[in-house]
Structures are given as structure tokens and as C-alpha cells.
Assembly symmetry: none
Homo-oligomer: 471 residues x 2
């Protein structure tokens, strides 16, 4: 019975796939770069139109500031279970496409090459929204309606750290109330296993600024004028040593010791160092190797401190003999449960003061706490099991991703199990030039979402009965 359903879903998805790709390509033409406040209203209108085309109700929430949050609602069909609700979390904004000259095709002109679709945002996260909306259409076709209520929260500031999401979640808590949540992203690993996460790291994205003078100077005055670039370099070097040890006092404050189950799950994760090195063309050994650490543990359980950007003075070709007036660094700290982004900022500011860099200003560009869902919840198992059937290969579940997002707020406000899965793959290059998804993954991802939704009410009922049986 289940398998006939799956076959039907596969067939109808195959029939719908070219329309879904056209839909996605149109969605990808919007340069919805939240960091640059680009194309927000037109993208919002397009998302609303798509929800309505899929026979859902859309509501644009914009009364609490920031880019609008889109609420989507699709009621259970006549044969469905209207007591059960699944929530999808997506975002319609994308990362800036720079560096532009490294793109083979234009970032906002979606292009198919060798079965892959290339465009900024196709993996993160526009492809997933279209896959989920298409899964709804496929269910409507095969089942005559939906097996449960389906809700969407689609925000427009994920790529800048969701700075305005929390009040929306709090005010509209009842609107977004659900039994479980599928998070925005995910995909296949280098061995083609679907890889899911039941949590997320937090983030403190900081900007460090050193102003040395009001104007750029001729570099010959370096004999007696202090140099903002040297100061910034010295300040950063005081924060992390050559062995990649973070030296900022208080940085690790509040960290929650992971449970034995979490540690076990981490040890069960696959990790292929050679494949990772080849993928990025990494020139040096992994930094975990020197410390005798397990890279899987580092990825899931350890906080990080990463320089994302440096800028000062002359950066063009050849020589310009300038003593720069200002130097800036962007530093991204990935946090684990218990760490607080504001505390991280203040520890770094204190550290700099203590080391004589009182003139370097540290600002928090964007801060989010980490979150780990209870990944022993039956909903999590249901998503995993349906994935195994659809992808015909055992999937992987990590306690949390190394990436970040506003999951902490969802957990706090909505109190529900969360798992993240999607249509990307290990070579998707999210945040980098030539971002892509593989069209076969896109099709399989639609089937998985439809099939997961089909069994969703039963899985929740079974778990309730189990819980009640225990009582």
C-alpha cells in the first residue's frame, strides 16, 4: 500500500517536474539580496502568488519591522487529518553573488548545465520552497487533498541573521503553531546519502574596525604614524594563535555539555577527509589533525572563530604607497548551545582592551543562539525512515548542523521537534559562486516531502499512543 503510494507520487512528480523547474527558474531571477535590500517587495509578491497558485492562503506580515514574513496555510483535505499540522520554514532572501567574475553563468539568470541548475539561491533556499510547494500540488493530484494541515513561515532576512524574526514568532505564535517543523535546507553528502540535522549552531558575526586617521597618508610616514592595518592584524593575532586555539577569555562561557546520545550520533556521522579536501581544493591539512581532534566533533560540538573578510588601504594591482586610515575585519563565531552572541561580543571587546587595542571597535552584525532539537522524537524517525524509502539509501542524522539559522527562536516559541532536509548536495556551493542543485535531487526531494507528509498524521498518532501506553 505504502509502496503503491510512493510509486504514484513518483509518477506524478515526474509529470510535474518541468513545470516545477520553470517555476523555480522564475523565482531565481529575483536578486533578493537581503544584505543589499534588493528586490524584496517583488519577491514577496511572487511568493504570495505561488502559494495561491498551489491553492493555499498567504498572508504578508510586516507590522513589526524588517523584511516581510510570509505566512502560508494549506488546510487538510476531506480525507486528511485536520488535527495535525506540519510547519515548513523557508527564506526567500539569498546571499550576495560576489565575486561576480567567478560565475560561469549569470547568478540571476538560472542556467541548466549537465543536469544541474545554477543560480544564486537555488540551493539556499529557493529550490526547497519550490520542492515543498510542488509536493503539495502532487499530493493534491494523487490524493485529492492534503493529509494534514500545512503551514509555511517564509522570511526574508535569514542571510543577514534573521534580526527581526523573534517578535513575529512571538506575536503570531498561534498562527505558526504546529506539531512539527521541517527546516529550510539539507541535501546529499559526497556518498549520495541524504544528510539531515535536528539542530543548528548559533552565530556571533562581528565587525572589528580600527580607525587610525581621517585620511589615507603617504606610506613614508609609517616611520612615525601608527598604522590601522598593523593594529588590526596584531589584535586579531591576539585572539587566536597559530595552533587555532581561541584565546579570548570567557568565549566558552555557558557551553552545555552534549548528552551521551548526541556524542554517539556524532561518532556515527560519516566524514571523508580526502573528499572534503578535494571538494574545496584545500592546500593544508585539516586544523583538527594538528590538535588530534575528530573533525566531526569539531563541526558539531565545538564553537569556531573565522575571519570572513579583511579590508584596508590599497588592494588593486601593483603598488600604491599608502598608509591606510582604516582597517576592518569580519569575524564569524559559530556557537554551540549555551553560548550567547552578545556575551561573545563583549568578551572580545574586553580582550582587546586588555591587550592594548582599546581603539578597535567590535560590533555585532548578527547574533543567534544555537539549538538542538530532541532528535529521539518519532517525527524525526518518520522523516528519516521515509527518506530511506524514497532515496533507497540510509540517510544520516546529525544532532546539529555546523551552519546557523533562527532555530532557537522556533524551539523557544513553538515548542516542537525540528529536522532539516532539502534538495542540495555537497557540491551546491551555497554562499559561493556557481551555486547549484542537481535536478534529480530536486525531483527526489519533492517525492520525499510528499511521501513524508502522507504518513505524517499516522506517525504522530503512533507516537502519541506509544506515549500514552507508557503512561
Amino acid at each position: 500500500m505504502k509502496n503503491q503510494n510512493l510509486t504514484d507520487l513518483r509518477n506524478v512528480t515526474k509529470e510535474s517536474i518541468s513545470n516545477a523547474i520553470e517555476w523555480l527558474k522564475e523565482y531565481l531571477t529575483f536578486p533578493t539580496i537581503s544584505a543589499q535590500n534588493s528586490a524584496i517587495p517583488e519577491t514577496v509578491r511572487f511568493v504570495v502568488k505561488m502559494i495561491e497558485e498551489a491553492k493555499g492562503e498567504a498572508e504578508v506580515l510586516d507590522d513589526l519591522g524588517g523584511n516581510p514574513v510570509i505566512y502560508g496555510f494549506f488546510p487538510a483535505g476531506r480525507n486528511g487529518d485536520s488535527t495535525k499540522t506540519l510547519l515548513f520554514y523557508n527564506h526567500y532572501d539569498v546571499q550576495p553573488p560576489e565575486p561576480l567574475d567567478e560565475w560561469i553563468s549569470e547568478p540571476f539568470q538560472p542556467t541548466i548545465r549537465e543536469g544541474n541548475l545554477f543560480a544564486r539561491g537555488v540551493a539556499d533556499n529557493k529550490g526547497d520552497l519550490i520542492a515543498r510547494l510542488t509536493a503539495i500540488k502532487v499530493l493534491q493530484k494523487t490524493q485529492g487533498g492534503l493529509p494534514c494541515n500545512i503551514k509555511f513561515l517564509i522570511e526574508g532576512e535569514e542571510e543577514i541573521g534573521s534580526p527581526n524574526l523573534s517578535p513575529y514568532l512571538e506575536k503570531y505564535r498561534d498562527r505558526f503553531k504546529a506539531d512539527a517543523c521541517i527546516w529550510e535546507f539539507g541535501g546529499k553528502d559526497e556518498q549520495d546519502r541524504i544528510s539531515m540535522v535536528a539542530g543548528i549552531k548559533g552565530m556571533a558575526y562581528l565587525e572589528l574596525t580600527c580607525v587610525g586617521a581621517e585620511i589615507d597618508m603617504h606610506s613614508s610616514v609609517g616611520a612615525y604614524v601608527d598604522n590601522a592595518a598593523w593594529r588590526l592584524v596584531q589584535a586579531l593575532a591576539s585572539m587566536k594563535n597559530q595552533q587555532n586555539e581561541i584565546l579570548v577569555e570567557g568565549f566558552y562561557d555557558g557551553m552545555v555539555e552534549p548528552s551521551e546520545a548526541v556524542k554517539q550520533a556524532v561518532r556515527a556521522l560519516p566524514f571523508n577527509e580526502e573528499a572534503v579536501s578535494a571538494l574545496y581544493g584545500i592546500k593544508r591539512p585539516l586544523i583538527t589533525a594538528a590538535k588530534g581532534q575528530d573533525p566531526r566533533e569539531a563541526m558539531v560540538l565545538h564553537p569556531t572563530m573565522t575571519i570572513c573578510g579583511l579590508i584596508s588601504g590599497y588592494t588593486g594591482e601593483g603598488a600604491k604607497t599608502v598608509l591606510p586610515k582604516v582597517a576592518k575585519a569580519k569575524v564569524d563565531c559559530r556557537l554551540v548551545p549555551g553560548q550567547d552572541p552578545n556575551h561573545i561580543r563583549s568578551c572580545i571587546q574586553k580582550h582587546l582592551g586588555k591587550h592594548g587595542f582599546y581603539d578597535i571597535e567590535v560590533t555585532l552584525v548578527n547574533g543567534q543562539k544555537a539549538y538542538r532539537s530532541d532528535f529521539s522524537h518519532p517525527f524525526i524517525s518518520h522523516v528519516m525512515e521515509t527518506a530511506t524509502e524514497v532515496y533507497q539509501k540510509e540517510g544520516i542524522l546529525a544532532p546539529n548542523s555546523a551552519g546557523t539559522g533562527p532555530m532557537f527562536e522556533f524551539g523557544k516559541q513553538l515548542q516542537l521537534p525540528i529536522i532539516s532536509t532539502g534538495v542540495g548536495w555537497v557540491g551546491s556551493k551555497a554562499h559561493a559562486p556557481n551555486e547549484s542543485i542537481r535536478l534529480q535531487d530536486f525531483e527526489d526531494g519533492i517525492v520525499h516531502m510528499a511521501y513524508m507528509l502522507l504518513g505524517f498524521p499516522a506517525a504522530l498518532h503512533a507516537s502519541q499512543e506509544k506515549l500514552e501506553g507508557i503512561k
Copy 2:
């Protein structure tokens, strides 16, 4: 007698000044940007035409590569001393005019505002060539001929580090042979004193590159992937400490201890810390203060290591969570006599290897040795004394400038005393937007050059007699 000469020179200069300004304005319309290989042939033709208009012979030397070197020759008049020869060094190329939006008038449309002439290259170094050619015309008019032979070496690659000049000087050593040399630039300080130098610092302009991977990565992999920006920061921090002490072994190799006369001259230089701080809007104390050093000594006698530029990863507004594939720094070391730019590069490369940064590549973008002329030479005194008469204010003489140029090659090949003076001023903004000279300085500079030439043979003879008397 001398004073009647000076009065005549002043009067004829005043009569000639409007023609000289028109000549200069035409010369300034050529966008002779050597870094961009722009307008070279037409500028060369124009310079040749100007030399010929002043009744000199011009020869274009271009058989050894690079932009042509122009040789100019003006023989002594019938009443002049044809056994004595003065050489002028100038360059016809200019710095790029960027940033263009900060120019009040177009950089290659010379414009007079409030007695100042604005254009790219007017102070560095086109104004000086016209002043010198005009001085020749003035002497022809007042004296009926020149007091000595006059030669010019006018090159077209000074602003990119004169990479091809050395072989021309070597091959054409006899052409350029002279008894003394007036260098390209100079001008008035903030107290309106003419400020001259009898030497120049050297330079090793380096680019440091750390490549970490072939593509930019998502910053979450910072948990285990090494970061090119962190490595570059750590590497730079190992080269110079927070107290601005250079830590590279061998950096100071070969440095010639300055003579007591040089040290004395340095102590006699003016330096107004408050004025310097106000000029640039400097936010911190001078770095010499912390070390108990004299900023004048640092400027003239100490080598420097200055970060001119830093670039890595994302440098736009807001947050982009990227782990950069590459990080680069531009580092400008100003050298003193005895230091060698290639040795500096190799010491830094060795230092990095020794500190574990074997993967950071150091390239020499542009290298020049320092040079100090014997500034007790009577020619130097002659230039200083005539300046005092013309400008009616005591001038200032530094053993060397903090800036750089190909003076070392002149000294080595031609073995002659060199002093630099010109028509700029402290607000000339050479290398910056709105470069200018003051027209009164231009006129006075013409008079000074003419007056200096008039007494040049006698000054050299006196010194020879003195030398022979000592023998």
C-alpha cells in the same frame, strides 16, 4: 652685482610667466599614467618639442625596453663655462588620478583656482620640468646664453619604480655625465621654508599571498578547514610586534651607520607633531613616542615596514559567512643606505618559513636602494645659499627624503652630488586627488633655478681650488 643679476632674472621671469603657465597647462593635458601605459608616445613627442623650442637638442632613447628615456642637451653659451655640466632629473609620467570623484576639477584639465594650478602631475613632476626649461629661456634672454652645459634625463617610469632605468644609465653613462645633479621634486613646508633633500630612502614593496583553497567556502567549515586570512594575520603579526618593532631576522643587514654630520642635520630639521597630527587627523600618539625616539630620526634614518593594503574574503556591507580561499597583503618597506630590496624579500620569506608559514608567498613588486649624497659638497651649499637669496628665507636640508626614487642608480653610475628641490608645497597632494602647485612658488622656482645655474661654474671652481689648496 649678484643682486642685479637676481633682479634681472626676477623681471624676465615675470615677463615669461604667462607663457610658462600656458606651456605647463598644455603638458598637463596628457594623461601620462605609466601604471596604465597611457599616453606615452604623445607625451614623449611633446617633451622633445619643448626641449627643441628652448633651443636644446633632444634624443629619445628606447633601445633597452620600457618607456623611452629622453636625453636633453643645452650647451654653454659663448660667455659660459663649457667645462661644467649640470644634470636635471625629471620624469614625464604621473600617478593614476583615482579616486576620480574626489577631484574638484578634472585631473587632466588643468585649472587655476585662487592662485593655485590643479592637475594630476603638476607637482609630481611636470611643473618642475617646465620651471627648469623656463629658467633656461630666462638665462638665454638675460645673459645671451647659458653659464654652463645643461643636461636632462627625463624618464617615463618613475611612478612604477623606474624598473628599466638602470641599463640606460649604464649604457649611456657618457651622455649623462655631469658635475652635479638637481633631482626631480621639492617644495615649501608648512612654514613656507624651501625644503630640500640630498638623498632618498629605498623601497621593497612586497605582496604577501596566502592561498588556502581553490574556492571560497561556507564559513561553518572553519571548524576544521584552515583559513588563509587567519594565517596571513598570524604571519604578519610575527613580522612586527605591537610595539612596532620589526622582528624579521636579517632585515637590518648592511645598514650603514649615518655619519655625525648626517645625524646633526637630522637634529636641525623642523618637526611639528601637532601640525602633522592635525594634517592627517591622526587618532593615536606617534609610534616614535612610545619608543622614546625622535620622529625626525625615524623619518630619515630608520627603515620602516608598513601595511599598505589588506584584502580577503567578503568586504562589503553587513555579513557574508564565507571562509576565504585567499588572503593578500601589500607591505612597503622603506630602506636606508646599505639595505637591499631583494635581501629584504628573501629575509621575510625565510622568516615566514621558520615560523611555519611556508605556504605564504612573498613577491617583490618594486625594489629600489636608498641613496645619500655627500651633502657637505660645495654644490649642495651653492643650491642652499641661492635658495636663501631667492626665497629670502633660510631653507631646510635633509640628508634624505622619506620618499623614494631611482637616485641610487644615478649615484652609482654617474658619481656626482645630488640635491632635490622643486616648485611644490606641503599641500601639493602628490599621489592624491586635487594635486596642485601655487603659481608664486612656480615663478620663484624658475628664478631659483636660473640664479643657481648662473653661479654654478664659480661654485664648482671654488670648491676645486679649495680641494687643491688642501692638497
